[in-house]
Symmetry: D2
Subunit: 284 residues, 4 copies
Amino acid sequence: MCRFVFYLGTPIALGSLLTEPANSLIHQSFHSHEREEPLNGDGFGVAWYVPGHEEPACFRSVTPAWSNQNLRDLARVTTSGCVLAHVRAATQSLQVSEANCHPFRRGRYAFMHNGDLGGFEAMRRPLLAELSDEAFASIRGTTDSEHFFALLGDGLDRLGEPREPRTMAEAFRQAVERVLELRARHAPVEHVYLNTVLSDGHAAVACRFTTDEPANADSLYRHCGRRYVCEEGVCRMVRTRGRGEAAIVSSEPLSEDASWESVPVNHFVLLEGSEVTALEPVLA
Amino acid sequence: MCRFVFYLGTPIALGSLLTEPANSLIHQSFHSHEREEPLNGDGFGVAWYVPGHEEPACFRSVTPAWSNQNLRDLARVTTSGCVLAHVRAATQSLQVSEANCHPFRRGRYAFMHNGDLGGFEAMRRPLLAELSDEAFASIRGTTDSEHFFALLGDGLDRLGEPREPRTMAEAFRQAVERVLELRARHAPVEHVYLNTVLSDGHAAVACRFTTDEPANADSLYRHCGRRYVCEEGVCRMVRTRGRGEAAIVSSEPLSEDASWESVPVNHFVLLEGSEVTALEPVLA
Amino acid sequence: MCRFVFYLGTPIALGSLLTEPANSLIHQSFHSHEREEPLNGDGFGVAWYVPGHEEPACFRSVTPAWSNQNLRDLARVTTSGCVLAHVRAATQSLQVSEANCHPFRRGRYAFMHNGDLGGFEAMRRPLLAELSDEAFASIRGTTDSEHFFALLGDGLDRLGEPREPRTMAEAFRQAVERVLELRARHAPVEHVYLNTVLSDGHAAVACRFTTDEPANADSLYRHCGRRYVCEEGVCRMVRTRGRGEAAIVSSEPLSEDASWESVPVNHFVLLEGSEVTALEPVLA
Amino acid sequence: MCRFVFYLGTPIALGSLLTEPANSLIHQSFHSHEREEPLNGDGFGVAWYVPGHEEPACFRSVTPAWSNQNLRDLARVTTSGCVLAHVRAATQSLQVSEANCHPFRRGRYAFMHNGDLGGFEAMRRPLLAELSDEAFASIRGTTDSEHFFALLGDGLDRLGEPREPRTMAEAFRQAVERVLELRARHAPVEHVYLNTVLSDGHAAVACRFTTDEPANADSLYRHCGRRYVCEEGVCRMVRTRGRGEAAIVSSEPLSEDASWESVPVNHFVLLEGSEVTALEPVLA
């Protein structure tokens, strides 16, 4: 499967997430701590928001993240207050292409996924049949992730402008419910694993969900603090009692300090500004 | 658009088609004689049949053909009696991926296309709705060409085993008729341009078709002879009165000799063994 | 050969140079106006300076610039006050690799080249023998351009800190003289073509030089103005009598207005801030 | 580091080495049994000899072997009686390029290496200074392996035509001795690790050598038998008392049968036809 990191807060260099931490995303790409497969070498992607541009920028590549010099250089000089980064281990290795790399975008939204819609091949045609023409045409690859995001995007469009995490969570909940209906009809013995982040640059909804036993859910962590700091190769959150300035949601802790909290299984994490505003169940 | 070459006959080195002729396919990739855009740099592909393997082998890449060392080496040592080779100029350059490179395959069939289904975006959903689950699942990219081939492939499956060009032409005719119906309903003012080759390694159907004025059809040539010979960089067909040993269908003549014949617009070329067995209208 | 654009002035979006102008660098990559070969599809690169980072960032790729989605996205959101961008047509197409893409970097310097050191293969070993260990080890590819820059870089190191264009031009002159000596000894009948830009982010030296007839020099233009503006797809310099805010040196004019001036053959253009400070002969 | 497989014998499908065995080279690329780093994702290459072509064909790529569809297809249809295949884990991941992928070629010879010339950066300039102009010009990348092979290639040229493994071993011994002299002068505290195969398609010399403690030598195995057979995913050597028809030298056993023999440290394995003709010490 895959690994990802999401950052929301005071602008930081992309490198603080991708290259500098002891367990940076690039390090996870070839040495994941919490997965059986040690390897995430089937492409990567990073989306970041830039002031003055509603649509996030995106850099994706099918070559492994660990040897991509363009990524290293970009990470060195680029700062952003909202970053989604992802390394991919293709479920089916033969489908490695840029179009299958996360994050995916739709207008101002960016989305990434670690997990698997079990029985996706059986669900794919009925799922496509429900999409708007715009969402249908937006699909460029073959992943379950991109198809789910197309469904979710239609829901976000229906909800319109209010940019707040609770609205995004509501659209997400509806998309999950729709997928569960498709699963019930077309792939009832398969399981859904949905660790994801959806953001518009200001707010975000992270999700840790599975239809499997909770113990089988993929790992997901969150970390909030006053500021995220990298000094001489050691990155950590500086926590204070005051208002937070940075939040991270990540497949694995990026550092060894004890303040990474596991996201409860089958819950959303709602984020706004740089703070976690709520934890709530995915399904009512 | 694109350029292609098809060879059927006595086994030859791939290089005799791809690299050696004065107007080889690789030369056409950066210096096409008969197209307004000089450039076919959006990927290439070659499919070839190998004795003992029903399914053709395929090599495709998004890097330009002219600088691909793997292609040059492969072309040097590989021989085949049935070869489809294609260089791509993406209609929409942003959709350059291996999955969008020709030739496409389905079981023992290989297919390549130079042209354009005008209004494809409007036809795509209804076309997909008609496909078998197998054909639907086989689609990996976003080109009109691959979608047309999925439709054609379903027709070939219905016709079953008889491996003769007339049967393949019949399936092709039905697929064209279906596309014309979709066009009439969804994109009536757009034009279809279908210069293609379909082969199973023994027989083949080439097609030069358009709904536009015949004068606007893309170019297509054929050449049959006793043997295709490259000597000191000059490639030519050696013609005799006896039975032919080689046939070529190509977007452009590969050599300057006068024996390249233009394929009549809106006609199929049927080939079997190494001979053209018939020319017949695409539509009855 | 190649095409390049250099910008120095008020920060602008990279897209204003790479994608927006009628004759943008990406357009030149497949449709050059002033070269016999229409094609620059053997990779591209862009280096840009970011406040707070002495070393420029660099993005290079072997895929054609016109279809690179990462480049388009990067160009959309990234701004810089000093940009070097280059599209490559490999003299020897088989040597296409990221290491052979321009611009090249050394510490705070970036360098790009359009042209050819004739007889480079004969000069290469003696040229390498003169390099410092650091310059020798910095060479990652096989181009004449990178080797020339290694020689130039050693000269820049000897001159030390003074960051002014006249010092850079002096180092450049010495490197040219050294190359002419190597040519005299090892490849006397070959010609040198050196259209280049060298910059440290604040100052720059552009060069238009050849040992051939002046009429055979590659084209090079400069344009200075109060501001470089792109509006609805039309980019132009807004000229006033006041102090300039932007300077461009480019293989071809980026727009149709008449204010592009040809750089005299065998001359340096010295730039500092956003102004041309001098034109002077390459050789005393 | 890297993993490799060498085959000499009755022609077999490349897939029998690369994809079919339980511990195939592609499997080793993401799940090596005998190395600390689990990962060989920094490119791969395969060279194979084709009757009628003295120079071997070569297919190399910087994308991971496990997801390369071209490789899988090529492996399916291509047969050869002499194959060198290699997956790379770059010592310095930032130097991933096709030019740095093994095998390397020179005329009829192919060469691949698993290991490391410790202190190579210090040895590189004096090593280059000893090369013939031809060997110097042949170097396209930056690896210690390619530089060593350039030195070895000059020795092979001096020995001329006699195609027998003992002559090749003699050239190899001289190259090792030269490297040990360079090491003594320029990098005396570093260690050399040379697990390699050199072949001309008919004969071969494999080498397992280190200046380190023998216990620290990289693993290398050999297997000879009457025929190499893959049936339903299980590949094995069929051994008989008669004359062998196939020999394999490999970084790791490809199958679980007990007949893989470890190559003694600091020894050459000489092969001719399809048989091991001798084991002899690298240094006299």
